[in-house]
């Protein structure tokens, strides 16, 4: 079909797959040139080594030690004891399930709403710049602060949500949003959706702006309606961006305890704890050994997820 043929991403077009017209001259490697390159790279390498890999190595080391703030003069190697302690704790499995609910419940609405907003912002209209700034604003606010703000908005007695629902005649008695386990999880997800929509909007908008106008005009001339254009041109065109954005967000949201910590502290009765908010409990108790072990388990879970996700995409592409 003409429409789908034209929807091929630019990288797959024959003209762009061919070699450049002028052959590139290979520059000779010299020690001097190598040292120069190293010099330019050195600041970045040092920065990454100090601020990323050193904490990573230290954190991994702590996971195999008894590392309690109360007595840092006695930090013996304990092998897998910290991991065994965690795996023997039933709360570990509960917070793992909560993490999945938190990630899926947050990302699906974020993707859908973010997509919708990106489509709206793609069009030119008056005050588009202002509207964009308003949409992107939540991204500039700290997650913990958002948690505190939503904690007050969801307050059963003084919160704005119950007040609005009462005034709209939808409820007669206050809803104790953060006191009921199911409602509390719903509430923290609502806050996270509000926060995370922006990221999807930014990424998808950038991708949509790369869809050539000629392609859309051609589709229109061929008689494709808006829905068809969306599903047969735009989405296939930005598919890679969408899939990578979802992957990034899964990793990010899984590791994002701030809103939960600010809103519920993981309560009531640990019913909104995810793995990383639960980890904060261990650091606050001074048990860095357990916290680090939990961190390594999270790494393992995310590495496994990332691997399967990318392998699944590759298989799909191969088909």
């Amino acid at each position: 079909m003409a429409v789908t043929d034209r929807a091929s991403p630019p990288s797959q077009r024959p003209a762009e797959r061919s070699s450049p017209a002028l052959p590139r001259r290979k520059r000779q490697f010299t020690v001097r040139r190598g040292l120069g390159l190293l010099g330019f790279l050195a600041p970045a390498l040092v920065f990454v080594a100090i601020f990323t890999y050193y904490p990573l190595v230290r954190g991994s080391e702590m996971a195999f030690k008894q590392w309690n703030l109360y007595d840092l003069r006695h930090t013996p190697f304990v092998g897998l004891a910290n991991f065994k302690t965690l795996l023997a704790n039933p709360t570990f499995y509960t917070v793992l399930v909560h993490s999945v609910v938190w990630v899926v419940g947050s990302i699906v609405p974020q993707l859908l709403i973010g997509f919708g907003l990106a489509l709206l912002l793609r069009r030119r209209f008056r005050f588009r710049g202002l509207y964009q700034a308003l949409v992107f604003f939540p991204w500039a606010v700290s997650g913990f602060l958002i948690g505190i703000l939503f904690r007050w908005m969801f307050n059963g007695e003084f919160g704005v949500f119950n007040d609005l629902l009462r005034k709209a005649g939808l409820i007669d008695t206050n809803i104790a949003w953060l006191a009921d386990p199911t409602l509390a999880m719903f509430s923290v997800i609502v806050a996270n959706v509000w926060y995370g929509v922006t990221f999807f909007t930014i990424m998808i908008l950038a991708a949509l702006q790369s869809v050539p106008d000629e392609m859309l005009e051609a589709a229109a001339l061929d008689g494709a309606n808006k829905v068809r254009t969306l599903f047969h041109i735009m989405i296939p065109f930005i598919r890679t961006t969408l899939l990578l954005t979802v992957l990034l967000r899964v990793i990010w949201v899984f590791n994002f305890p701030e809103i939960i910590y600010g809103m519920t502290g993981g309560g009531p009765a640990e019913q909104t704890h995810i793995v990383t908010s639960w980890m904060i409990n261990f650091t606050q108790a001074g048990d860095y050994g357990l916290a680090s072990a939990l961190g390594l388990i999270v790494v393992a879970v995310l590495v496994l997820f990332t691997t399967f996700y990318l392998l699944a995409l590759r298989d799909r592409d191969a088909r």
Binding site: T52, Y53, Y54, P55, L56, V57, R58, G59, S60, M62, A63, N68, L69, Y70, D71, L72, R73, F144, N155, G156, E157, F158, T173, N174, A176, W177, L178, A179, D180, P181, A184, L247, I251, N255, T264, G265, G267, P268, A269, E270, T276, M279, N281, Q284, A285, G286, D287, Y288, A291, S292, G295, L296, V298, V299, L302, V303, T306, T307, L310, R314
Partner: protein, 436 residues
């Protein structure tokens, strides 16, 4: 980017993001001095903007009285302050004088990060001017002085004078049972009016323990308020069941349903905006309620801590103070600053921050004899009724205990745990810890 590279890259990022968090536990900053003058670095923990202003003024007075000593105040946000202080102490630089809390003195001193001021205090005349309580808390179990308290926090009952009158009561409650009766009578959710500002969220277990301690007041071990005479835990005492049953009735009959999740800000706001009639809180709330735009001065007051059936209440005192870092290169000047802040300056600091003062003569001040402070004087004058007790807040597992206890309090509130099982769990926890 090739897929394998991308997988590795994404995995590395995921790893770095998570494992790096606890790994970032050491840092460094510097303390300066030289040129004939000394610059002290002072770090506070329970930071708030108004308090920092008071502190800066006092430091200005200190600098004026001690030419050659400058003090640089570092005020990290409260949530991260103790961690920041820990990093400074661990790295051995950045702090000369620091705020030490009863919750942090254990780990900090155990790691050798705090300077023992015993020798300096013995030579300091001002120590004799401190109240008995302040002198007691200035010495740890091992007899060493790692900090001098700047004031004390202690519970009292904030109550609405107009609401209890409307409900037909002539005086505020004296016992937990009376509180339940009065709060239940005032409760009227249709008017958005509630009896008691229940604490179900963070640190909610503290008030449950306060009720139990009042009920076991006759037999409580005052040096370890989690034990009764004979060495049993207070949670296994026969009176404990009645205490928790009464306390949780307060939630069922007289509190906002959403208070399952209420922490400090919600409780104070509930009282401050006129929604709740009773609030059990520390004295710093006096300043907050005094500034309320809803409540007038004649609409509220404070009453002494509630007693149990035996007519006794246990006051679990909490405190913080100023200490000196072991790594400080300017210990003499640092100790001088701690002594200054523990002298007359401490009364200014206590007044401005609504704390029970540490100076003996402060009790004669009209400020502490009238209005909402009067209940503290009442409690001080009746030590046989209002027992001052020491909770084991310095143990390594205190935060772990608080987290567990708060979680189980919420389980009771959402009907996932009975009060009997709550007590059994708490008793088992402490017995196991004490057995080592």
């Amino acid at each position: 980017m090739k897929r394998r590279q991308f997988v590795l890259g994404a995995a590395s990022l995921a790893g770095a993001a998570v494992v790096g968090l606890p790994g970032c536990s050491s840092g460094s900053s510097g303390s300066s001095g030289g040129g004939g003058s000394v610059t002290l670095q002072m770090v506070e923990s329970l930071t708030n903007p108004a308090r920092s202003v008071v502190l800066k003024n006092l430091l200005g007075e200190f600098e004026a009285a001690n030419p050659g000593i400058k003090v640089q105040l570092i005020s990290p946000p409260t949530e991260q302050a103790d961690q920041k202080i820990q990093q400074m102490l661990q790295s051995g630089s950045g702090a000369d004088v620091l705020e030490v809390r009863d919750l942090t003195v254990g780990p900090f001193s155990n790691n050798g990060w705090l300077y023992d001021m015993s020798g300096d205090v013995a030579k300091w005349d001002g120590f004799a001017n401190l109240t008995e309580q302040a002198q007691k808390y200035a010495k740890q179990n091992d007899g060493k002085t790692y900090f001098i308290p700047y004031g004390f926090y202690g519970l009292s009952l904030f109550y609405r004078t107009d609401l209890i009158k409307e409900a037909g009561f002539s005086a505020p409650p004296k016992t937990w049972d009376e509180l339940l009766t009065q709060a239940s009578a005032i409760q009227d959710p249709a008017k958005n009016r509630y009896g008691y500002a229940f604490r179900g969220g963070k640190n909610g277990s503290g008030n449950v323990v306060a009720a139990i301690e009042a009920y076991v007041g006759d037999t409580i071990d005052r040096e370890n308020a989690f034990k009764i005479e004979g060495g049993q835990s207070i949670f296994a005492a026969p009176e404990a069941q009645a205490a928790v049953d009464t306390y949780f009735q307060l939630f069922r009959k007289a509190s906002p349903p959403s208070s399952v999740a209420w922490g400090y800000p919600e409780m104070v706001e509930g009282f401050n905006n006129g929604s709740t009639a009773f609030l059990l809180q520390d004295p710093e709330v006096i300043a907050t309620v005094s500034a309320s735009k809803v409540l007038k001065a004649d609409q509220w007051n404070t009453a002494p801590l509630l007693t149990g059936p035996a007519g006794k209440a246990a006051q679990p005192v909490a405190t913080s103070g100023w200490g000196v870092a072991q790594s400080s290169k300017n210990k003499e000047a640092a100790v001088k600053l701690v002594e200054f802040l523990s002298g007359d300056a401490s009364t200014t600091f206590a007044k401005e921050n609504s704390l029970v003062p540490i100076q003996k003569k402060a009790g004669d001040d009209d400020f502490y004899k009238t209005g909402p402070w009067a209940s503290y004087v009442t409690m001080t004058k009746a030590p046989q009724t209002y027992l001052t007790v020491v909770q084991p807040r310095g143990v390594a597992w205190w935060t772990e205990w608080s987290t567990k206890a708060d979680n189980e309090v919420q389980q009771v509130l959402i009907n996932k745990l009975s009060t009997g099982d709550l007590l059994k769990s708490w008793d088992a926890y402490w017995v196991k810890k004490w057995q080592g």
